[in-house]
Symmetry: C2
Subunit: 240 residues, 2 copies
C-alpha cells in the first residue's frame, strides 16, 4: 500500500504528526504537496475543490489509502495505527491512545492561536498586541497544564513512564515528541523553565528522537524546518 | 449498561453532544454533574483530581461505561456509536462520521474563542474589544465556511441530503442540530442571513428536533437552556 499524504508544502504543520508515524513505520508514502512530480500544491487544491467529491475533506492534511480518504490528524493516526503497528489492538487501549491524541489536537490549536488570537483571517502583524496577551497565558498556564497532564499520564502508566500507553511505542508518543519540539522552537525561554517540571515528557521526546527511523528522518531533507508560516512560530516578543 | 456522564453542571456545553446521543438511543444514563444524588459537581472534580487514576481525563466531559472511561466528545461518540446504533458498522463510514464530528469539535472551539479570544484564563469582560473582532470574523467567515461545508456534504451524499452519512441517522446528525441551535442562540442576526445559504443543514436540524426521543428530551427539564457560562453565549454586541 502506497499512502498519499496531502498537505500544504513548505511547513511541518499538522502534516508532521502524520509524517512521523509513516516514517517510524518505514511506510511507502508520497508527500504530495512537497513533491512536484506527484502534483505539488496544485494536487492538494484540486482535491479540496473537487465538486464531485462525495466525502470532501474540510482542510488538509488528508491521507489517501487506495479508495479511502481520511482527514483530521487524529483520525488519520487512528486509521494508520493498526496498519503501521503503532497502536495496541484492544479497543480500550486504542480509545485511550486516540483520546490522548485529541488532547494533542487541542494544544496544537492553542499553539496556533497564541500567534493568531483573533483568528486565521488576519496576519500576525495585524494582531500583535493581542498575541502578546494570549501567548503569555499560553506560556504561563496552558503549556504547563498540558505538559503536566502528559507527565501525569507517563508517571501513572502501570507499564512504566517510557511510553504513554502500555509498554510499546504508539503514534501518540511520536506526537508528544513533535509537540515538545515545536514548543521549544516557538518558546525556547519558557520551555527551559517548564521542562524542569516534566522530566518524563522530556525523556520520552529524547527517546523518540533516538529511534533509528526517526533519527534518519530528522537528518534527511524530508524533515522540513519550523518556520513562521506554520503552527509553531518563533516570534521572540511572544516568548519570555 | 448504565452510562455515567461526567460534565460541569448547569450548562449544555460540550456535554450536550453526548446527551443528545444518549437521549436519542433511549440509553440508561445518569448525568452526574447535574444529579446531586449521583454526586454532583463534587463527583466530577473528585474524578478529575484522583491521583491514583491510571488514565485520567484532561477535562470533562467524560463517560464511564463499566470499567472503561472515555473522554473527548468525539471519542465518546465514537465509542457510543456502535453501542447506541448511531453509526454505520463498516470502517470507512465510521471513519467518515468521526471525521465530520472532529470538524464539529473545531467549530465548537472557535465558537468558544469568539467570546474568549485571549484564552480561558480571563473573563469575557476583560477581553470585550478583542472578542468583537474575533466574533466578526467568526460570523462573516468561519460560520459560513463550516456550515457551507456541511451543506456540501449533505448535498453530495449519494444516499440523499437527509443525513450526513449514508441513509440513516448517525451521531453527527445530532451534533449538527446542536451546533445550529447553539449558533442561533449566540448569533441570531447573523444566522438569519447565513441559514439562507444552507437549506439542507437547516432541514437536517429541523428533522432532528422532530425525532420523537429528541422532541421529548427538548421538552424535558433535562435539556438545559443555553446561558452565558457555556460555549454558545449570546452577547448582543458580538452579533450583527
Amino acid at each position: 500500500m502506497r499512502y498519499e499524504l496531502y498537505y500544504w508544502p513548505g511547513i511541518p504543520g499538522r502534516g508532521e504528526f502524520v509524517r512521523l508515524a509513516l516514517e517510524q513505520a518505514g511506510a511507502d508514502y508520497v508527500d504530495v504537496g512537497n513533491d512536484e512530480a506527484a502534483g505539488g500544491v496544485e494536487a492538494v487544491e484540486r482535491f479540496l475543490d473537487d465538486e464531485r467529491a462525495e466525502r470532501p475533506p474540510f482542510a488538509p492534511p488528508f491521507l489517501r489509502a487506495g479508495r479511502v480518504v481520511v482527514a483530521q490528524v487524529a483520525n488519520i493516526l487512528q486509521f494508520l495505527g493498526p496498519r503501521l503497528k503503532l497502536v495496541a489492538a484492544n479497543e480500550a487501549d486504542a480509545l485511550w491512545t486516540h483520546q490522548l491524541q485529541l488532547t494533542i489536537t487541542d494544544v496544537v490549536a492553542e499553539a496556533h492561536d497564541s500567534h493568531h488570537p483573533l483568528g486565521p483571517g488576519e496576519y500576525y502583524e495585524q494582531q500583535k498586541p493581542e498575541a502578546r496577551r494570549r501567548a503569555k497565558a499560553f506560556r504561563e498556564e496552558r503549556i504547563p497544564r498540558y505538559l503536566g497532564y502528559f507527565e501525569r499520564v507517563l508517571a501513572g502508566n502501570p507499564k512504566g513512564p517510557r511510553h504513554l500507553v502500555g509498554a510499546r511505542l504508539s503514534y501518540v508518543d511520536l506526537s508528544v515528541f513533535q509537540l515538545v519540539t515545536g514548543l521549544r522552537y516557538a518558546f525556547p525561554k519558557a520551555m527551559r523553565r517548564i521542562e524542569k517540571e516534566v522530566p518524563n515528557v522530556v525523556e520520552l521526546s529524547a527517546a523518540v528522537a533516538r529511534l533509528p527511523n526517526i533519527a534518519a528522518y530528522l537528518d534527511s531533507a524530508r524533515r522540513l524546518p519550523f518556520n513562521e508560516s506554520g503552527i509553531f512560530r518563533h516570534y521572540p516578543e511572544l516568548d519570555g
